[in-house]
Subunit: 282 residues, 7 copies
C-alpha cells in the first residue's frame, strides 16, 4: 500500500458523515446553552441590583457600604456560577473527568490559585477587612475599593489608576477609613528663635483651628521639639480628623501657621551655612 | 431525533417538579439554620461580654489587658465555630466529603493557610507574645493591638491606620510595652567648644529632669562623645522611661538642653564650611 | 567473536531495509501533515480577520477594542490548536503516552507553566482586566497592550520597546485607561511671598484652563500648601483629564502658571542659603 | 412531611437528654484536668526554681549563665508538656486520630513549624550558640538574650524593645559576648597638617589610656592612614576591650584625642571648599 | 583466616582475566561510538550550514534573521541528539534504567531544568519573541542575540561581554528591535528665560533635523515643559527613529540644540544659589 | 456512676505501683547512660587533642592548619555520635520508630536541615574550601574561621564578633588567604597639576616601598589615570602582598605618597567650585 | 533483678570478644582500602598531568585553555570516583541500602544538590560557557576561572580573593574574554566651550592612539554629546580592544585627551555655581 493511500484512509476514517452531523448538533447545542446562560446572567444582575437598591431605602436594611459590597460580590458570584454551569452542560461531566485524567496534576495546580483567591475573598468579607468605598493600602497599591469580586479586588487610586489585585495575594491590609486619622505638620524654626515663643504662637493657631475647621475631631496640639536638626528646631503639631480629610486639614494648618509665624516675626529658616575664610589658602 | 428535542429533553430531565419542591425545602431550611446561628452568635457575644466585665470587677479576676484579649478571642472563636456548624448543617457531611473528593488537593491547600493562622494565633496567646493594648512592631507594621482574632491580628497605628495582619505571617514580633523604654537625645556642639563644659551643662539639665519629670525611671545620664562628625561633636543623653512616654520625655529633654546651652553660651552649630579662595582662578 | 564484528552486527540489526522504508513513509506523512496544518492556519486567520472586520462595521457588533482583543486571541488559539493536532497526528497517541511514561514528571512540570499561562489569560479576558489598546503597568513594565495571546501578553512602551510577558506571571495589574486620570502640578514659591496672593494667581490660571483645554474633565483646582520645604512653599494644582492626556495637560498648566507668576511678580525660587560669616576663623 | 417537621426532627435527634448529660460530664472532666495541670505547672516551676538556685550556690554547680538558661528552658518545657498531656487526657487519643484523619495534611503542615522551632532550639543549646545574658544579633534584631524557650527566643534591646524570635527562623547568629571586642575611633586631620606629628600625639593618648582605662585588654594602637578623603586624612585607632565596654572606651578615647589635638594645635577640619571666582560671568 | 587473606581474596574475586578483557572490549566500543558520533555531528553541521546558505539566496526562502536563528538551533539540536544517542549506545538501555532506579528522584530533579530550558526555548521560537540579531533586555542583561540554543541563549553586549542565559530563566523579555524607537532629549533653561522663545528656537532645530537626518521616522517634536526643577525649566524633545539609531539621533539633536540656543542667547543654566548674607552672625 | 469516680478510676489506672517502680528504674538507667556518655566524650576529646598535638610535632605529620581543622571536627563528631548513642540506648529503638510513626513527616522535615548541614560540611572539608585560621567571607559575614563543626562553622570577625553559620546555608565562599592579595591606593590630584610629573613622583615612592616593605610580593606599580572626576584626576597604585597584610601596606603607601607629593609641591585637592556672580540678581 | 544487673548485662551483650575482633578486622581493612585509594589518586593525577602536558606539545592536540580545563576536571572526577569506590568497599552495599532505608528521604534531599552541581558542571563544559583562564562574572562574583571541578568552580579575583561557587548555583554567566571588549572614556567640557572644537581635538588624539596603541582593534571614535549635564557637556569616546586590555587602553586615552585639551585651551570644568546675591536679606 502506498503512503498516499495510507494517509488518505487515515484522514477519511476520522471524518465520516455521521461524525460531521454529530459535531454540528453539539455546536448548536453549545451555542444555545451559552445564550441561555448569558440571558440568565443579565436577568440575575438586574434582580440583584433592584434588590439591593430597595434594601438601601428600607428602614431595617443594610448600611449603604455593605450593600454596595454585597451587590458587587453577588454579581461576580452569579457570573462565575453560570460559566461553570455552562461548561458542565456543554462538555458532559465524563469528558471533563477524562480530560482531567490526562492533564490532572497540571490543571490541579492551575486551579489552586482560583481556590486560594476565592477563600481569601471569603475571609476578607467575613472579617470585614474592607468594604466597597474604603481607602486601603495593599502591598504597596493604594486606592478606594471599587469592587470585591470572587477572584480579584479593584482599587481606584487618587491618580485615576485602576489597580486589579487577586484576592489570594492579599495578606496584610491597611485600612485608612476605620477610625479618625492623624493630621501631622512639622514646622522648622531657626536656632536663634525662642522655642517657647514659637510654641505659644502655634498653640494660638491650634485653638483657632479647633473652632473653625469642622473636620477636626481632636486637637490640634503642639507635641513639642521632635528634632534638633541641621538647619533648625522642628516643632510638631498633631490633630485627629474625620477619615480622608487629614490632607486638607494639614494644608490649612500649614497655611495658618505660616501666616502666624510671619506676624510674630518668627522665621522659617532657609538652609544656613557658617563660612570660615581661611587666609592665605593654597 | 432533532437536536431541538434532545436539548429540550435534557433540560426537562433536570427540572422535574419534585426536584423544584425539594430545592425549595432545602433553601428554607438553610435560611432557618443561618438565622438560628446568627441569633446564637448575638446571644453568645453578649454572654462573653458580660462575663468578662464581671470578671474585671471581681477581686480574684484576670488583669484588665488579659481579659480584653480573651474577650476578643472568644468572640472570634464563637463566630467561626457557628459558621462551621451552619455549613455542616446545611450541606450534610456526605456532600462535603463528595465535594472534597473532587476539589480535594486544591481545597486542602487553601485550608492550610487557615490552619497556619489558627496555630500561630494559639502560640501568640500561650506564649503571651502580646496582648490587646500593647504597642508592637510586626514585619514593618506598628501599632497598638486592637484585637487578636482566630485568624487575624488588628493593629491601630498612631496615624489612625488600621493594619490587619494574618496570624500565620507573624513570625518575629517586637513588643514596645514590656519593660521600661529608652529615651535618647543627641546634641551637637561645635569643635571650638569645650567638651567638658558642655557635658557639665547637660548633666545639670539631667539632674533637674530626674526630679521634675515623673515618667523617667532611670537617668537621664550623659553617655559621652558618640561622634566626631563633619560639623561638630555629638553628645548623647539617655534615660529609661515608663513605656510609651519616651517620645514626650525626649521632647522635653531637647527643649531644656537647648535653653541650658543658650544660657551657657554653647552654640548648636549650623553646618560650617572653610573657604579657600584661589587667586587667579581659570 | 571480535569487538569489530559485535559492533558491526549491532549497527546492522538497527538498520534493515524495511526500517528505512518505514522511516521514509513516516517522514513523508509528517511533512504532509505539517503542510496541511499550515494551510489551515493561514485560511483560519483570514476567516477570523474578515469576520471581526465585518463585525466592527455592523450595527449590533462588538466595540472596536473588544474586537481587536478577541481577534488576536482567536488567532493565537487557532495556531496552538493546530500545532497540537499536528503533534498528535504525526506521533500517534500511544507514542506520546509511552514517552510520557519515561519523562513523565519532568514534562508534567514543564507543562505546568503553559497551563498556568493559559488559565491566567482566560481570567484576564473574563474579568476584562485589560483589552488591546489599554495602557497598563504590569510588574514594573508599562505600555500599550498590543496583543493578549494564549500564553503571552505584548506591551508596547512609549520608548518603542516591546515587552513580552507570560500571562502566568501577571498578578497585580494597574490599568491607566479605565476612567479619568489626574494631572498634578507642584509649584514652589519663596517663603517671602504671600501664600494667598500666589494661590489667587494660580486659581485664575485654573479658570482659564478649564475653559480653554478640552481634555480637562474636572478642575483644575488648587489643593493648597502641601509642603513647607527647604527652599520654599509648595502649592499643588490638580485636575481630572481624559486618559493619556494628563501629561500634555500638566505641561500646558506648568507653562501657563509660570507666565502668570512672572506677570504677578511671584518668583519660583532658586535654592537659597543664608550665609553667616564667622570672624577670625581658624 | 413538611419542611418544618423535618428540620425539627433533625434538630431533636441531635439533642437528646443523655447527650446533654454526657456533654456536661465531659466538660466537668475537662475543667478538672485543666485545673490539675495548672497546679502541676505551678508546683513544677517552683521546684525547678529552687533547684537551680541551690545549684548556683553549691561548689560543683553550673556557672550562673548556664543555670539561668536551663531554668528558663525547663520551665518552658514543663509548660508545653502539661498542655500536651491535658489535650490527650481531655480528648481521648482516638478522637485526635479521627480529627487528624480529616484535617491531616493541613495540621501536619502547621505542626512542622513547631517541630522546626524545637529542633532549632535544641541545636542552639547543644552547640552553646548563645546563653541567657549574652548580647547577640539575629537576622537584624539585636539585644540581650532574656530567655531561650522551647519555641521562641526573647531578646531585650538597648532601646527597651522586647524582640520575640521563633527558634526555627534563627540560622546565622552573631554573638558579641564571646571574647574581647574591638573599640575603633577614626580621627580626621586636614591635608595641611603633618601626619607623623598627629600620629605621635595620638600615640601619647594611647599610652595614657592603656594605663588609666581598666576595660582595655589590648592596645589602643594607631593603625595608620586609612583614607585620603575629600576633606582630610583619616587616622584609625583600635583597641581590644572587655565585651560590652567597647562603646564607653570609644567615647573616652574620642574625648581625650580631641583634647590632645587641641593642645598640639592640630585641627579636626570642617569641610573645606576651594573657590575659583570666574571674571565676567554670564 | 587472617584479615590479609580476606582482603586479598575479596580484591581478586573482582579482577579475573575475563572481566579485564570484557572491560577492554567495552572501552574500545565506547571510543568507536564516540568517534562515529563526532563525525556525524561535523557532517551534520556542514549540511545544515550549506542548506541555510542556499536557502538565503533562493527566491522563496526564509528571511535572513530567521535563517540564522534556525541554523544555530538545528546545530545545537543535532549536537544534543548525538550526545544522547551515544549515551544510549554505550551503556545499554537496561543499565540506564537500573541506574535510574537507584538515583531516580535526584536525577529526575536534575533533568527538570533541562526540560524547562528546552520547553522555554521552543516557546521563544514559536512565538517569535526574539531572533538572532535582535537587541533584547532579559532580566537586567542586555545585548544582541548571538544564538538561541536548545538550552541557553547568548547575548553580546555593547561592552563586548558575552551573557549566557538558560532559556528556562527567561520569562519577561524586552525586545528593542521590533518597531521604531524613541529618541528623547531634555533641555534645561533658566527661570529668567522666556519659555515660548526657547520652544520656538528648538522647534526650528526640529524642522531642520527632520529634513537632514535620515534615521528619523517621525518628529522630532517639542513636547513641552516637563519639569519646574530646582535650577530651571526642563523642555522635552521627542522623535521616532529606526531601531538602534536612537542614541546617535539623540547625540546629534543635543549638539544642534546647544548651538541654536547659543545663537539665540538662551543659556543652559549652571546650578544657581541665592545667597542671603546675615549681618552679625553668631 | 458519677463523674468523680470515673475520673478517679481513670487516673488510678494510669498510676499503679509497678509502673512507678518501672519508671524509677528507667530514670536511673537513663542517668547512668548519660554519665557514661559524658565521661566517654571527655576522655575522647583528650585523646583527640593529644593525638593531633603529637602529630604536629612529628616529621611526616599534617601541616598545622589542617591539624587544627580536623581536631575541631573530630571533637564535634564525637560529641554528636555520643548524643545519638545515648538516645538510642535510653529509648529503645522500637519506641523511636513508634514515635516516628506518629510524627514522621514533621520530624523528617526537621532532620533534613541537619543532614544538609552535615553533607555541606563534608564537601567543605573534602574540597578544602577553607581551613581553621583562614579569613573568609560567607554571605556577608566575614572573619577568621575558628572551627568547622559537623553542623556549624564559627567565624571570628576583626570587631571581635563571633558569627555562627550553619554549614547548610554556606554556598558561595570567598577565601582571602589563598594566594597574594592586592593593596590598592587611589590618589587624587587637581586638574592644574601635570599628570606625568605626579606619576613620576609616585613611581619613586613605589621603588622605595618595594625595597623597604617586606610584605610586598609584587609591585607596587602605578596603573594610570582611572578617573577624570569632579574635583580632580585619580591615579591608582597597586601592589601584591602576603595575605592579611594588604591593609597595613595600603596605609604605609598612603603615608609615603602624601609626604612625597607635599615635597614635590603637588596638591591633593580639596573639593573646588567655580563661582559665577550674577549681577543684578532677582 | 536489680537495675544495675540489667544495665551491665545489656552492655556486655553488646561487647563480646568476637565482636571486638571483628571490629578490629574491619578497621584494618578500611585503613588498607583508604591507603590504596589515596595511592591510586596520586598515581592517577600524575598520569593525567603528564598526558595533558604531552598533548599540549603535540601537533594535533587540544588548545592550551581547553587542556587546562579538562585536566582540572579529570583530576576532580578521579578524586570523587575513588572516594565513592572506597565508601562502597568499606561499608558493603547492603549496609548502604539499609542505612538509606532509614534516612532515605533526608539523604535523597541532601544528594540532590550534588547531582544538580554535577549536571550543571557538565552543561557548562559541553556548551563551553567558560574555560580555565577566562575572566567571568557569575552572580556578582567576578574573577579568572582557576578550575571547573565536578562540584564547584573557583574564581580568582583581581583583588586576590578566591571565590568558590557551587556549579548548581550558576545560571547566568557573563564571559568577558570571548571577543573584543569596549574601552569607554567620558570627557566633560564646560558649556562655554565650542563643542565642535573639542570634538576635533579629541578626534586627533584618537587617530594618534589608533596608530600607537597595539591593543586597540577598532576605533577609537568620538560618539558625540551623550549628556547635557549639570556642570557641562559630556563627550564619549569608544574603542574596541583585545580582551582584558580595555582598562589600560582607557587609562592611556584619558591621559592623552587631558594633555590635548590642555594644549588646545579647553578646560575640563570644576563644578560651577551661579551666585545671586539678595540685597537686604532677612
Amino acid at each position: 500500500m502506498t503512503v498516499y493511500n495510507k494517509v488518505k484512509e487515515m484522514i477519511s476514517s476520522n471524518l465520516t458523515q455521521e461524525k460531521i452531523f454529530e459535531g454540528a448538533t453539539k455546536v448548536t447545542r453549545a451555542v444555545f446553552i451559552i445564550i441561555v446562560c448569558l440571558i440568565i446572567i443579565k436577568i440575575g444582575e438586574a434582580i440583584i441590583h433592584s434588590f439591593f437598591e430597595r434594601q438601601k431605602k428600607s428602614r431595617f436594611g443594610l448600611n449603604e457600604k455593605k450593600a454596595a459590597t454585597l451587590q458587587e460580590l453577588f454579581k461576580s458570584l452569579l457570573r462565575y456560577a453560570m460559566y461553570f454551569v455552562a461548561a458542565i452542560w456543554i462538555f458532559d461531566i465524563k469528558t471533563v473527568i477524562a480530560v482531567t485524567g490526562v492533564a490532572g496534576v497540571a490543571i490541579g495546580f492551575g486551579a489552586q490559585n482560583l481556590v486560594k483567591d476565592i477563600i481569601s475573598g471569603v475571609f476578607i468579607l467575613f472579617e470585614d477587612q474592607f468594604a466597597v468605598g474604603d481607602y486601603v493600602v495593599i502591598d504597596g497599591f493604594s486606592g478606594f475599593v471599587e469592587a470585591i469580586g470572587i477572584r480579584v479586588t479593584r482599587l481606584r487610586d487618587f491618580s485615576g489608576d485602576l489597580h486589579i489585585i487577586p484576592n489570594g495575594t492579599i495578606t496584610k491590609v491597611t485600612n485608612k477609613t476605620r477610625g479618625n486619622m492623624r493630621a501631622l505638620v512639622d514646622v522648622d524654626i531657626a536656632y536663634e528663635e525662642d522655642i517657647d515663643h514659637a510654641i505659644r504662637a502655634i498653640k494660638e493657631v491650634c485653638v483657632e483651628c479647633k473652632n473653625e475647621i469642622n473636620d477636626i475631631v481632636e486637637g490640634p496640639d503642639v507635641l513639642g521639639v521632635v528634632k534638633l536638626g541641621e538647619f533648625g528646631i522642628t516643632i510638631r503639631v498633631v490633630a485627629k480628623t474625620i477619615p480622608l480629610t487629614q490632607a486638607a486639614v494639614e494644608m490649612e494648618l500649614r497655611r495658618r501657621i505660616k501666616y502666624k509665624l510671619d506676624k510674630e516675626g518668627i522665621e522659617i529658616p532657609y538652609p544656613r551655612r557658617v563660612i570660615l575664610n581661611k587666609e592665605g589658602g593654597c
